[in-house]
Amino acid sequence: MTLYVVKRLVAIIITLFMIITLTFFLMHSIPGGPFTGDKNVPEAVAKALSEKYHLDDPLWKQYFDYLKSVAQFDLGPSFKYEGMTVNELIKAGLPVSAKVGLLSVALILIVGIPIGIFAALNQNKWPDTLVMLLATLGVTIPSFVIGTLLLYVFSLKLGWTPAYGVEQWQGYILPVLALSGFSLSFVSRLTRSSMIEVFQQDYMRTARGKGLRPSKIIIKHGLRNGLIPVVTIVGPLIAAMLTGSFVIEKIFALPGIGRHFVQSITNRDYTTIMGITIFYAVILVVIVFIVDLIYGLIDPRIKLNK
């Protein structure tokens, strides 16, 4: 186990190093500096700016400086938001993004899994068909379409929720729904198919034969086995939600990291793009690692140290 953890940690560090290197050189391969787009910056100002951000240093030196500062969790200054560092941008956006993200995860677990079980219990009856139809739609319709339609119906037509911002708690409802739409559908579909398979297993028949209560059969014998495939896709789901947050925060005008990211793309704010990409990479890599550890714990058949 310890050996496995150490091995994985080394792999994580190598992965992150590769990602930092890749983003750094990608961003620096763009012709023109970050200030060339600005309208007629006087030469002296341009020079001072270059000097301030060490843009005149040779590329390898900039690269090692950047590596060093990233290792100290310093993602450098933003080129377009004056006087802001990327760290400050992330810190400003994190509470909103994290809240929307965590609420979505909660919704997926609390609603998605029971729906899947419910559909599996009613296999091929109308509730199952209905739920699976909705879930198929949820998987196929892109999040930005769901988001804009929700915004149109519930905020603009019915006026039940605010159209933008999160000053009131109601402001979270639609973004969370839109963000979790895909994953919710995916999880309920997966739970359903995996539970249906589990229900046909011999140990389930044994449990019924022993005369256990149905709730106990489902929860203790069914879920424990049926949820294993669901745990494996948590990593990709978190990734889907991270990228989903770009558009959701744009649609609902939430002051989160995703919107800063999209804005920095439009503004060509290279340090911010780099910084937020690396931030996302770290989060993802860590989450995937934790999920792998949990996976080993809940499924004793999986040997982590091979």
Binding site: I14, T15, M18, I19, L22, T23, L26, M27, S29, I30, T136, L137, V139, T140, I141, P142, F144, V145, T148, L149, L151, Y152, L156, S193, I196, E197, A239, A240, L242, T243, F246, V247, K250, I251, V262, I265, T266, R268, Y270, I273, T277, Y280, A281, L284, V285, V288
Partner: protein
Amino acid sequence: MTEKTIENVVAKQQPSIDPTLWGKLPESEKDEKSLSHVSLTYWQDVWRRLRGNKGALFGLIIILALILFALVGPLLTNHTYDNQNLSTSNIPPRYDIYKVGEEYLYLHKNMKLYLTKSNGEIIRVLEKDKEDMIKKQLIYTVGNGTAIIDYSTKNTLVLTDENGKVFGEHKNVSNKTNLLGTDHLGRDLLTRIMYGARVSLLVAVVAALVNFLIGMMYGGIAGFFGGKVDNIMMRIVDIISIIPLTLYVILIMVVLNSGLLSIIIALGSVYWVDMARVVRGQMLSLKEEEFVYAAKTIGTKPLKIITTHLLPNAMGAIIVTLTMLIPSAIFMEAFMSFIGLGVTAPMASWGTLCNEALESIRSFSYQLFFPAIAICITMIAFNLIGDGLRDALDPKLRK
């Protein structure tokens, strides 16, 4: 056993049956063909199963219709995707017209008054005679009468005559010149959706090609050679796949600047990873089969073994993966365009259309609905085909 003894046995077991009933049929009644049906090839079998799947057929029809829509559609309209006409901007697909004297008028939300024919076809936008700032009225001369736009009540426009009598709607008509209306620059929405379909289909084709060429070869080589080669190649894939593809595509798009070519390059450079994994998995099991050993024994070159012996046998899994990847590539393009990294203006893609419509969603929601519906239908159709093909190619997977 002779015939005699069989007859005896039968007679003993079932004495009620008259033994004379048991006899040989004449040779002329022999009908071998009706018993042994024609054996189907693998692909004929797949097609037979696919045909039986209503969802997949439906999806197939939609995709064919979409291809027709994208390729032939733009030839049939007399609009272009970039022809701007600011005087007829934001005209919805259906609107009310009023009858004033002998003339027909259409009152637009942007406080414009259009002269229309009786069937609702817009002739031209009318110039106002004067504006009464105090009463908040715009005054127009129509034919030999007058029409007044009254905007004194907030958020509502009323069309009245000179005595303040409100005109009732004459009838609700559909837009004859622009079937789905126009966007904020007066461009025909239907034509733009057609061009958007072209972009989406092009992306689908490119994603399929990239997966076929790069993904299949990469996975094929890694799986066939195994050992160190496999280890190194798969670690590279692992590193690539930890970060969501969307982030790579965004980074590459930022570097290359937006545009259709950039989308294609961005998709092409990272989009083969899933396929590589699937093909490698197939290779690992297939390469232990006898026919591969046979090919090796007669000295066939590795590349030839991969392309002529291994890949065709892995085709089922490859096609299933492909049908899953194509809609996600279409989605990726729409996503990129939606956050402003897609095709460059004035070119239209469904993502940019949605993005542009988002700004005016309050007043002109129809601009959002049509491209959104187009995306949804396409995604659902591709997914239906994907599910159908998966069931048809590998019935064991069916649940």
